[in-house]
Chain length 541, copies 2
């Protein structure tokens, strides 16, 4: 028997309209190329989204078509989110840091009909224009006054387009499963894969983000997302602002600039922010060196990669700021878990608290997680067993864009590619990537744990662990070390140092020394390259 409730759809349009009607006066502050501190309201954002929707309709954009963006976090990008998605079209956010050939690939693969481009990124498009098969026009996110000169054909000025239009737009009534935005993963192997988000997925995630046990943001908060809107919708903060009514502060291109961030935080009274550890390292370094403070900040969310405890301690001790880790991925739009304490802080000793707060946290309602062994048998939540982390939920990818095959396993779970433990409280900890873990005798060894352990030795500048084929155990760990300058340490000394700190059978079979390790563009150790480099390696014993 079906319930008899209204069939109201969960759409970005309903979020946008809530932002207009209930949080209409809530501020949106932006750092933009043509204004160092632009400020307006949710209601004005709504009106301009309507102007944009009218302009795009006039240019011929239809429901289901794709519009790409190459833009920073600012109010115009927010208007594009709304104007495109609420028209029934798809907003494809593009990472400007991609290599030109990747840009060409994803713009053509997504069939972007128009590109909305910040002036700073115009050269990227000028360099590849001839290869873009579906592109009909480039809309420059600028006013008439700040329009750059360009040799691109079919270029439009964003503000001029809007000026010509009414803010009244007859927003279509969309099915909640309609696609609203598209984001490509930056896979290290193969072509990037597109994740096509639905309105429903992002609305549900906006609820989850604003839970008291999540970010807990309410109308009187002020949030600064220092994660790009071109990557998984700035972790959903812009939509959450429409829902909860908090003031939104967009840093524009200043996301890596400690001085600008500090000033923005102080002047706009920011009390909540999210970013990756690198951002916080930059900000804390600036604060330490300048002696400046962030007096209004209460909490920062951190994700993207594991957050060193030192960052958390410095935030807490120097700035009275609480750091909360979270975990997610592009395929989850991106939210998977928040590390909110289950019990009051005073129930934990400092040691327990420090051990706990660096972990990835507890799944937010909507996401289900499990860890499984190589036979897909579920592993216990005991904090020790670690296995492939699988997830499911209404904001988890089902199939990549234009892929025929499902992205899920036979039982309908998505394999995250991460290896994790989960403890009895449900606290999940990423221990490795599935492809980096060492499979030894049917059991798994975490390369990351071994690396961290080896790094504790004062003579080790950098360490990497990879699995090497082994006749009996399938794989065994090889520890690859860059010595500290001037050190004459040998392998046995390092292994002796590690003895007792890790399980006996985890101990690397050998240690080898190199001058330097290969790194990815984002500074992580390039394990794939390292495995290629050591593909002929065999243990001497």
């Amino acid at each position: 028997m079906l319930g008899l409730m209204m069939n109201e759809q969960l759409t970005i349009t309903s979020l946008m309209q809530h932002g207009r009607s209930i949080n209409g006066e809530s501020e949106i502050v932006s750092v933009v190329h043509d204004n160092p501190r632009h400020s307006y309201t949710q209601a004005e954002c709504y009106d301009r989204a309507g102007q944009l929707a009218n302009a795009l309709k006039k240019l011929g954009l239809k429901e289901g078509e794709v519009v790409g963006t190459l833009a920073w976090n600012d109010y115009r990008h927010m208007e594009v989110y709304y104007g495109v998605a609420c028209s029934g079209a798809v907003c494809h956010t593009i990472n400007p840091r991609l290599f030109p050939e990747q840009l060409v690939y994803i713009i053509n693969h997504a069939e972007d009909r128009f590109l909305m481009v910040d002036p700073m990124f115009l050269p990227l498009i000028e360099a590849i224009e001839g290869t873009l098969t579906n592109l009909e026009g480039v809309i420059v996110l600028a006013s008439e006054d700040s329009m750059p000169t360009t040799k691109l054909k079919n270029v439009f000025c964003y503000e001029s387009l809007l000026d010509a239009e009414s803010s009244e737009f007859d927003w279509p009534e969309l099915d909640e499963n309609t696609a609203c935005s598209l984001c490509y993963t930056s896979g290290t192997t193969g072509n990037p894969k597109g994740v096509l988000y639905s309105h429903r997925a992002l609305v549900l995630q906006s609820y989850a983000c604003c839970l008291g046990g999540g970010m807990g943001l309410a109308a009187h908060d002020v949030a600064l997302p220092i994660v790009p809107m071109f990557h998984v919708n700035a972790w959903n903060i812009p939509y959450s602002a429409a829902l909860a009514g908090f003031k939104l502060v967009f840093p524009g291109s200043k996301m890596g600039d400690g001085e600008s961030l500090q000033r923005l935080i102080e002047e706009e009274k920011v009390n909540y922010s999210v970013g990756v550890p690198t951002v916080w390292l930059t900000l804390l370094t600036y604060l330490r060196e300048s002696g400046k403070k962030i007096t209004t900040m209460k909490r920062v969310g951190v994700g993207g990669s594991a957050c060193p405890l030192s960052i958390m301690k410095e935030f807490e001790e120097e700035h009275d700021v609480e750091t909360i880790t979270g975990w997610g991925m592009t395929e989850m739009a991106p939210l998977g878990s928040f590390n909110m304490l289950k019990r009051p802080r005073e129930d934990y000793t400092q040691e327990e608290y420090d051990d706990l707060r660096v972990r990835s946290g507890r799944q937010v309602f909507g996401v289900q997680m499990k860890i499984v062994d190589e036979s897909d048998r579920e592993l216990p939540w005991d904090g020790n067993a670690f296995g492939a982390l699988k997830v499911r939920g209404p904001w988890v990818v089902e199939r990549y864009f234009k892929h025929d095959d499902s992205a899920l396993d036979d039982n309908g779970w998505f394999d995250t590619g991460d290896v994790a433990t989960i403890d009895s409280d449900g606290v999940m900890t990423i221990t490795d990537r599935t492809k980096d873990v060492i499979k030894s005798g049917g059991e798994w060894i975490s390369s990351i744990d071994l690396e961290n352990c080896a790094m504790g030795h004062g003579d080790v500048a950098e360490a990497a662990v990879i699995g090497i084929a082994h006749p009996k155990w399938d794989e065994r760990p090889l520890l690859i070390v860059v010595k500290a300058a001037g050190s004459a340490v040998n392998g046995d000394e390092i292994l002796q140092f590690m003895d007792g700190k890790i399980a006996k059978w985890w101990m690397p079979d050998e240690v080898t020394f190199v001058e330097e390790l290969p790194h990815t563009a984002t500074g992580k150790i390039h394990k794939l390259k390292l495995r290629e480099q050591f593909s002929d390696y065999s243990f001497s014993s």
Copy 2:
């Protein structure tokens, strides 16, 4: 184009499973007839819901069938919520305060196949058993030891049924639009009407309840719902506990007992509670007279009817407790609005704050509201215009149970039957019931505002205002007054007192005096009876 996200359904089952896996250790404390302080966990609740589902299956219950409950707020009632709804059947919560003929009507109308009954309510069923057309069995919510004697046929002991079953149950994969529970409105006219909630509606509302800008409850909170589980699912608090992991304290039959409530709050460290104003009046009176305190309490939510400012002030000044009003109705499952401040408290003067906090609040995301005039034209949100309050949203009724016609207007909105104003911040204030408002010359006059104004006169013990037919203005207000004991006040003196306090054209045309006013069972003025009483009245001028 559709998004490519997983088609995961929003079900109570997923909430229950989240409660088990992520908040498995969260406590559920209950006052029960056979245990003054029962305590167990979300995980144990899950297991016992499985046992119940097995037992009901063995008794022959099928998906889509209805099970009635006559029970207090306690852990067994919670297990029934889960065991029934997650089996795909419907949990029909029955208000034991209904008259016998109403009980017969709704139990037969709902086609309750089984009734789950607290021992205290067995006499209610014994008195009407012969008239219950679909009833096959009564399950008494008791252990073998505490089973009462009864002449009812087909009686089962709840604990014995559970003892015989495994906790493993193969919960069906339900469509989120499946009905999960049924609650009848207690209409003052005609037969009660059933609202058939879907899994989707209650899951979405659970998200909304737990928003940082809503109740904001998180894992380390302790909540005491002093609103009955037999009426709109205790305002969704039980489900919210599974979502957020807070400790849940059920008061059993002690909901109107100030002493028990105070002890429960102190001993269980309750920091959040919800109830109607009468409950708070009872509690505050007890605290005042006993000199006892509620030291752990931080916030109380209040709804059901308008909350007097005096209650809020006493909570704040004597107990440092913040009071937050909300508004909703059975047809909205029940959440419509929370009166959370839009700006920080210090941005309001005491007068502004007092004026604001008694209002019904701002719509929570998911609910849309509008106010309209008699021609269904939308009225401005200026805090002055008042009109019929209409709502829509995924947890708003579309059609009453077994009614053929839609409950919505031609444009798909549900008319709440309330008259309200909305200000530019979106703050809604109920000013009257649509049927009580006086329609004068195409404009509306609030009967409640006039009554409150007249009550300000020291010689007025009680006042009621109804509309009387008028040849020119359609209706004009008649003020009906019960004088204070010994008073010789006359009508002109009361009208003079009101002059300047209300709009000139709102002034009652006449004042008439009565010995007493008719009241409803819940103590409100019975306007329907009053209108009947004055149906032949005509103005002398």
